[in-house]
């Protein structure tokens, strides 16, 4: 849907890193490196960004 504000497991704020993450991935950066640069350390928080799909973009035309 839309990037969750905090990590489901540990509760760290992750939503503020989403825009930067998206930009860097579009520029061809490797996700692993980008996450390191954004200081996302734990696996639980890393999967929040890596596995997210912004579905809100898809159904915006239907609202």
């Amino acid at each position: 849907m839309i990037i969750p504000i905090r990590c489901f497991t540990c509760g760290t704020l992750i939503a503020d890193k989403w825009d930067e993450f998206k930009i860097q991935i579009k520029e061809g950066e490797i996700p692993e490196k980008t996450l390191d640069k954004l200081n996302v350390k734990r696996w639980c928080c890393r999967r929040m960004l890596v596995s997210h799909i912004d579905l809100i973009e898809d159904f915006l035309p239907f609202t």
Binding site: M1, T12, L13, D19, L60
Partner: protein
């Protein structure tokens, strides 16, 4: 008791606490998680919402946004202890408003920076947290009430995350037995071992999590993972509202206040017992 700082950043800390038991470290951990107050949005009045997300969805997202505040300067009351009796007044509540509209062509993302606080010093910890996306001809108008709360009521009030401690690790390699097969370097996911020259050496002993996996791969049993239970390796991150040192000081104060209360109750009970 002795504290040795390993690292201190604005929102994370790692230190060694010596001459304490693990139980003591746990008392600090539990107090910081469940008792140290922080400020987040609790009530949301939705005046207008034609966005793709439901009111509840947006309210939930707003609640999870950590707010920056100065716990000593702000002097907020807990709402249920406030003179207003829990209705909400400016002694216990900080109001934030949000109002955003799109025209027929554009679609925009509503960010946390669009939340306007009525109290100086209170604002979202980051300005780029997406709240919702608005399509053409949509509007969002909200009034949010932030209040102090504790982690034991709801996890959104926890000022810290990933707070943990462990016994002090002492990994050692028996140089006589070691065959330099390098198996431990690959096995340890924390990068404790490193090759220097043609010998395997312990490069980052503090990274060891006592998982004992390297013992399994070491054929000649050259490795021993010892631990010192009188020393505690403590680390955590804060979610922004409070910095790590304030969080620790506050949890210390709260433990002391509880012990004081215990002492007073005990004394008065004993005094009553004597009278009767």
């Amino acid at each position: 008791m002795d504290i040795e700082l390993i690292e201190l950043f604005p929102n994370s800390i790692k230190f060694i606490l010596s001459d304490v038991t693990l139980a003591f470290a746990n008392a600090i951990r539990r107090t910081a998680l469940a008792e140290v107050p922080s400020l987040t949005i609790e009530d949301v009045y939705v005046l207008k919402n034609t966005s793709p997300l439901f009111d509840e969805f947006i309210a939930h997202r707003l609640g999870l946004i950590p707010l920056k505040f100065d716990i000593d300067a702000l002097e907020l009351n807990f709402r249920d202890e406030c003179d207003c009796g829990g209705i909400g007044c400016n002694l216990c509540t900080v109001t934030l408003t949000l109002s955003k509209e799109t025209d027929a062509q554009t679609s925009i993302v509503v960010y946390s920076s669009d939340l306007i606080s009525t109290q100086a010093g209170v604002e979202p910890i980051s300005s780029v947290i997406p709240i919702v996306k608005l399509g053409p001809n949509q509007a969002l108008e909200l009034e949010c009430m932030a209040q102090l709360g504790k982690g034991k009521e709801h996890a959104k009030w926890q000022p810290v995350s990933a707070m943990g401690y462990q016994a002090f690790p002492i990994p050692t390699i028996d140089k006589e037995k070691c065959t330099n097969c390098l198996a431990c370097i690959d096995a340890c996911y924390r990068g404790v071992y490193q090759k220097t020259g043609d010998k395997v050496q312990i490069a980052n002993p503090l990274n060891c999590t006592l998982c004992d996996y390297c013992l399994e791969v070491c054929e000649p049993n050259a490795i021993t993972i010892g631990k010192d239970s009188t020393k505690v390796l403590f680390s955590f991150e804060t979610n922004g509202g409070l910095d790590p040192s304030t969080t620790l000081t506050k949890s210390g104060e709260l433990i002391l206040a509880k012990i004081d209360e215990f002492k007073k109750t005990l004394e008065s009970t004993l005094a009553e017992e004597k009278e009767s």
